[in-house]
Amino acid sequence: MKLKTATFGVLAASTMLAGAASAQTTLGLWYHGAGNEVESRILNGIIDDFNAAQSDWSVTVESFPQESYNDSVVAAALAGNLPCILDVDGPVMPNWAWAGYMVPLPISEDALAGHLDATIGRWDGQVYSVGLWDAAVSLYARQSTLDELGLRTPTLASPWSGEEFMAALGAAKASGKYDYALDLGMAWTGEWYPYAFSPFLQSFGGDIVDRSTYKSAEGTLNGDAGIAFAEWWQSLFTEGYSPGTSQDPADRDSGFINGKYAFAWNGNWAAAATLDAGVDDVVFLPAPDFGNGSTIGAASWQFGVSSSCSHPEGAAAFVEFALQDKYLAEFSDGIGLIPSTKEAAAMTERYAEGGPLAVYFDLSKEQALVRPVTPGYVVAAKVFEKALADIANGADPADTLDAAVDEIDRDIENNQGYGH
């Protein structure tokens, strides 16, 4: 009798458990971080917590190598095989939204209160994606170098002017101590170019496209400000301040640390490694102001909902769950990126008030300018990258920008204005 009762009990319990498990609707999530152990561990932890915390949804993750992630998503969209939750790079989101791969994320504005603006992906007046972190670039320098060269230490409130910046490069070059005064990271290609270098163009007063209409780059990329930027850009290489496109990637990784370069234009993701390498007096300086303010690029990876998703509310529940400060802080401590809220920053080792990288949170908050919010950005970014590489390699600045404008405008026209 006891055995029968026990057997019945076990059966009933397992049936209930199975019932509970099957009640959860599975939501697929695609992520760009395959191969990144720390990132995968943290994301899997959030997913496990989410799946255990409620009974409606069960998220499963599939990770992809970052370099091919976008191609995989586009191919899957063509084949009608998208998951429910998509990871999307901030500047790419408008293209995927416009192409119909993504739909608005049904998340309340309250849930987004206090988050860095650039971590919220808006398109066409609606929220499409939200990020757990942002990234920022800054000018790496050693305080000892600044002191030695007699340079003022620029601050967020008072960045170097363009003249001061060039004088600093000139002083570093004249000292004869460095292979080059400035490492721009020319060995990196792809999105690094528009992300890292278009803020210089914007500070000159130009832009990749005209943001007031998003229908042309004419006069914006190749106007007087654009040409002034391009000539300045070329002078960095012709006058020997920076290594060009043939820069050895190894030097990009370790040149500043090894003292080959006086200054480096680099992201916050490399800051911890620089500190760990023993550059104790490294300072992270704001971008120089060439007349129209000091700005840096913004918007990193974010979560959104695919158009194939039958349960956007489930996707939104997961994103909202993942936005908890403890997870933002965990990601920041794990992979070094900037948490998207002040509260989360205070919980981190590096971005808390007084932390070695705290300046980045302020840089992101004060100076971040998202890349052009248009579906055409994915093409314009590649055109911009090529133009900058060509100019660095000696092409005529004005002609190159004119050709770039033609190509960007042609693409916008071919796509009927991308819905603008």
């Binding site: 191969g35 599939e62 095989n81 190894a250």
Partner: protein
């Protein structure tokens, strides 16, 4: 006089060996660099690139990169996937392409020359131009499996195998080779009453060792080394990823070059092993057909 001649011959021989050794070293340098670098920490690997130390196993040598590479990616799974896809494709390719070539060369049927020309013309079409239509096609195809009919071939081995079984180059290789076989053998077999399939199986294929080796090596290199774009767009789950897509796991913001080299060394082992196994047949076939990979 004879002494001078022998001396000259010796000098010529020495010069030839020196040249060949130099050429061999030039070709071996990348492989040596890859293997040697796989045992060095990143900092040393990068600093050694500016000297000959890059090719020498000196300094801080360890297996750390291999341990880290195995932690970063399921290397065994990727290699197993690639080997399975490659071996299956090569075997089916040899069977079907040789049958097609046999038909083109030995059987009389209307339109065979036109069809062969059309097949060979596909050599000039880059795969990238048909990738998207092919993706749309395979994503809608049915498949009859153990669980009944399923729609769509994405995230399977078959989608990585079937579209690559028949290709113009392999058909061409077999056609060229079969054309040079003595016709008398075939005719004698026909007179004796042998069926076409028996001729294919008992006479033609046993004589086709060199072309089989060439076709197998070229196809396997293509399947193992060059399969990137197609699996990238048709395989979204890790369980079916091949080694070339797996390489992307190692290209993070800060690239761990030592791990990249360790991964490349590991995934090169099957290819180099296969080549060493088949090299004699491969070289003789290359010499006779003039085809290069």
């Amino acid at each position: 006089m004879a002494l001078v001649s022998a001396e000259n011959r010796g000098l010529r021989l020495a010069a030839r060996y020196a040249t060949l050794t130099l050429v061999a070293l030039v070709f071996m340098f990348p492989l040596v660099f890859m293997v040697v670098s796989s045992f060095k920490p990143d900092q040393q690997l990068l600093s050694d690139t500016s000297s000959l130390r890059a090719f020498l196993p000196v300094g801080d040598i360890s297996l750390d990169n291999y341990y880290a590479a195995f932690r970063r990616a399921p290397i065994g799974l990727f290699m197993l996937n690639s080997v399975f896809v490659t071996v299956t494709t090569v075997l089916l390719s040899i069977l079907l392409c040789s049958l097609a070539a046999f038909s083109f060369v030995f059987l009389e049927w209307t339109g065979r020359n036109v069809l062969l020309t059309i097949i060979l013309a596909t050599l000039i079409i880059p795969f990238e131009t048909i990738a998207v239509p092919l993706l749309l096609f395979v994503s809608k195809l049915p498949w009859l499996g153990m669980e009944g009919i399923a729609w769509g071939w994405l995230n399977t081995y078959r989608v990585q195998i079937i579209p690559w079984i028949v290709d113009a180059l392999t058909v061409f290789l077999f056609v060229q080779f079969f054309k040079d076989l003595p016709r008398e053998l075939i005719e004698a077999a026909r007179v004796e009453g042998a069926s076409w399939f028996m001729i294919y199986r008992k006479i033609v294929m046993p004589l086709s060792g060199p072309v089989l080796a060439t076709a197998a090596i070229l196809k396997s290199l293509k399947m193992y080394n060059e399969q990137y774009l197609w699996p990238l767009i048709v395989v979204q789950d890790e369980a079916h990823r091949p080694v070339m897509v797996g390489l992307g796991y190692f290209f993070q913001l800060q690239i761990a070059w030592g791990e990249v080299m360790a991964y490349l060394t590991l995934i090169s082992v099957p290819v180099i092993g296969f080549y060493l196994l088949m090299q004699r047949a491969f070289i003789s076939s290359i010499a006779s057909t003039g085809v290069k990979g």
